[in-house]
Structure formats: C-alpha cells, structure tokens
C-alpha cells in the first residue's frame, strides 16, 4: 500500500492504495465517482477521460499512485452551485449523446480542447476528439455540441 494525497473535484483525499490500482478504479471504487467509466483496456476509447492538473488524461492509463499530489476533476465536478458547465449544456442542447456512456469522457475532452483552442473549426474539433470513441451518435451531434459550446462561450464574453 502506498499513501497518496490528492484533490478530487475540489475535495482533498488522503488514502492508502495498492500501487497497481488504476486512477479510474480509485475514482469509481474508492471514491464512488462512478460518473467516470471504463470502456476499454487499451486506452483507445477515452470514456475514462478526466482532468489531471488541468489537462485531459485517460484515467485508465494512470496509476492512482501517480496522481499523488495532483488535482483531479471528473465529470461530477463540473457543475458549480447546481449550474451545469457550458459544455454539459451544449451536449444536451445539441443532442450530443444517446446512451451516454462515452459522454463523460467526451465532455472532459471537449473542455480541454476548448481551453486550448476556444474557437476551433469543425476539422479541429474532429481531430481534437480523436481519442474518444462513440458508437451511438456518429459524432455528428457531438461535433455540433462542441461548436455550440464554443459559440456560447464567445457570446458570453462578448
């Protein structure tokens, strides 16, 4: 067991974990953050995407011990005071989800993408989501959701 100390969705966590435990398992099994899900075992699908120190990572591809000292944000930590994040709103507005299993990862990756490039083209959005698989939407409305979120943010700043 290895001691770790980190911040998850704004709350500090102290724990003892097996070194082999993946960050996604830690979030799900020990913290009950089941909003973050596991979709594959080869880091292709991106369903487990969270932010580690402000950057999107695949939490199935990080050991919990490697997150020691880090700040982790999951899909469950996005809404503030009951108000959804703009990207969450946009996914609902544009029907960017169907079964919803890939959605937490898509949303977390979208937020990262827009942080880096607030005004992406459609092509940039599509490339920016290359690490996230969806089987329901054909991506059409996911892309629309991301572009909508970018527009809304622009509108908010204007």
């Amino acid at each position: 067991m290895t001691k770790i100390e980190l911040t998850v969705d704004g709350a500090s966590v102290f724990d003892d974990v097996e070194p082999r435990m993946l960050l996604v398992q830690y979030l799900r099994e020990k913290l009950g953050k089941t909003g973050t899900v596991i979709g594959c075992d080869t880091s292709n699908c991106g369903a487990c995407t969270v932010h580690l120190n402000g950057r999107s990572v695949k939490s199935c591809n990080v050991l919990a011990v490697q997150a020691d000292g880090a700040e982790v944000t999951t899909v469950e930590g996005l809404a503030q005071d009951g108000k959804l994040h703009q990207v969450q709103e946009s996914f609902r507005e544009c029907h960017g989800l169907q079964c919803g299993f890939c959605t937490p990862g898509m949303i977390m990756q979208t937020i990262d993408l827009l942080n880096e490039n607030p005004h992406p083209t459609e092509e940039e959005v599509r490339l920016g989501l290359e690490g996230n698989l969806c089987r329901c939407t054909g991506y059409h409305n996911i892309v629309k959701s991301v572009l909508h979120a970018a527009d809304q943010a622009e509108g908010a700043h204007a």
Binding site: T42, S43, N44, K58, N61
Partner: protein
C-alpha cells in the same frame, strides 16, 4: 502459420545428423529456452520471452514424434502454455538434411515450422506477429547452425559457403537478412560475434549489458553468421512458439 528456413553447413550429412542425438541440445536452441528434463524423446522446460514491455513465460514439453535416420529427418512437436493463462504456443518443427548439391561434403538443412499461438498475444497482435515469429525462428535456426558448424569457427567462412538466396519471386521478405546484404550488415557495425555458447543458449552479448540469465531478450539478436534465405509460402496471420508480441494504441 508456416515458416521455412534453409542453410548449408560445411559438414557431411552423417556427421551433421549425429549432432541431433542430443535431444536437449536441439530444444535448448530455442531462444529463451531452459530445459528442465529429458526423457527418451521427450523434453520439458520453459521459454521466457521478453520483448519491449512484454515478458511472458511458457512452460511445456516437446517430443520427437518422428526421427528417420535414413531420410535424415526429424519432427518435433512442442507445446507450452503461458504461466499466467494468457494462452498457448505450439510448434511442429520438421528438419531435413540433404547432401548439398552445390558443395561436396556439405549439408543443406531445411527447417519447416508450423506455428500456432493462441490467447492474448495473438488477440492483440496488431497483425504483425509474423515479424517476431521470423525473428525468433531465425535465432533458433542460427543456433542450430552454430551447433552444426561447431564452436570455434569464425563468422566469415560460413558466409562464403552459404547458399544463394532462394527467395521465390514475389515472396515477402521476412528477415532483415534478405533485405540487407550480409557483408554490408557486418561491415555496418554489427558486432561480430561467436556462435552462441552451448547451453544454456543465451543471446549473443551485444555491446550493451545483458542479463545473464536464461531469458531471451529478443533485442539481443543472435548475429546471423550465415547468409540465410528466408521465404514463406503464404503470409497468413500468424504466430510462433514463444514469440509474442503485441502492440498497443497508446504510446509513451
């Protein structure tokens, strides 16, 4: 998957055949192999394969299912399973010797290998296990070659005596040896090496530190000391005893 290798050694057929009286010496030629027991025509042992991020240990046994002294042919059936239940590996190796037509007193040796790997290493193969298979088999054959050639001979002589490449037209190159002129390859700085020592067959030490255990680091390539011609009837999807590789979508 079937793989074929051919080479020529500068000894007569009977003398060459005699080398195979020792069952273990054949089995131990398999890269990473450690023989734990030999009984009549059957042997048991382990094969440890390390390749990049992967390390697997197969344990199993092999049997000389056919040994035809008159035809100078033997067939070995070997099978093993991964220690962690990741799957199995099986190989049927058919080795035949014929007096060389090209050079009196020499023997042409043909090694045909029918390989099957099951389980995770095959499931996650990214379809390229062929290359690894060739590589391991190439090392196996190199080792056999070195034993037949006998210790002490240097690398140059067999090259001179090697048969010409017999790759069939349109054949898929399966070994660097085919694509690169062997002389160039040696000249290009591949460290010259002696044939692998007798047992256990560790990979030939290169210029870097190597663990001196019984594991095979595929990296520690046994230097080809003879020019070999590799060919392959049909490139199917693939596998080899103890040849395991797998590729992943992620990168460091």
């Amino acid at each position: 998957m079937e793989l074929a290798h051919r080479f020529t050694v500068p000894t007569g057929v009977e003398e060459t055949w005699a080398h195979f009286e020792d069952v273990a010496s054949v089995a131990e030629c398999f890269p990473g192999a450690a023989i734990t027991s030999v009984e009549d025509d059957t042997f048991a042992g382990t094969v440890k394969v390390k390749l990049g991020p992967i390390a697997l240990v197969y344990s199993g046994s092999g049997t000389f299912v056919e040994k035809d002294e008159a035809a100078h042919k033997f067939v070995v059936d070997a099978k093993g399973k991964d220690k962690r239940g990741n799957g199995t590996a099986g190989a049927k190796v058919t080795l035949t010797m014929n007096a060389s037509a090209a050079e009196t007193g020499s023997t042409d040796v043909e090694v045909l290998t029918d390989l099957a790997i099951t389980g995770k290493p095959a499931q996650f193969g990214r379809g390229v296990m062929q290359d690894v298979s060739d590589k391991l088999l190439g090392q196996f054959v190199s080792c056999l070659e070195s034993r037949l050639t006998g210790p002490g001979e240097d690398a140059e002589e067999p090259v001179a005596k090697a048969v010409e490449p017999t790759a069939t037209p349109g054949a898929v190159a399966t070994s660097p040896v085919e694509a690169v002129d062997p002389v160039t390859r040696v000249a290009a700085g591949t460290p010259a090496a002696s044939p692998p020592p007798a047992r256990p067959v560790a990979a030939a030490p290169a210029a870097k530190p190597m663990p001196q255990d019984d594991s095979l680091d595929l990296g520690a390539t046994v230097i080809p000391i003879l020019l070999k011609a590799y060919w392959k009837p049909i490139a199917g999807v693939v596998a080899v005893v103890g040849l395991l590789i797998w590729w992943l979508a992620a990168r460091d």
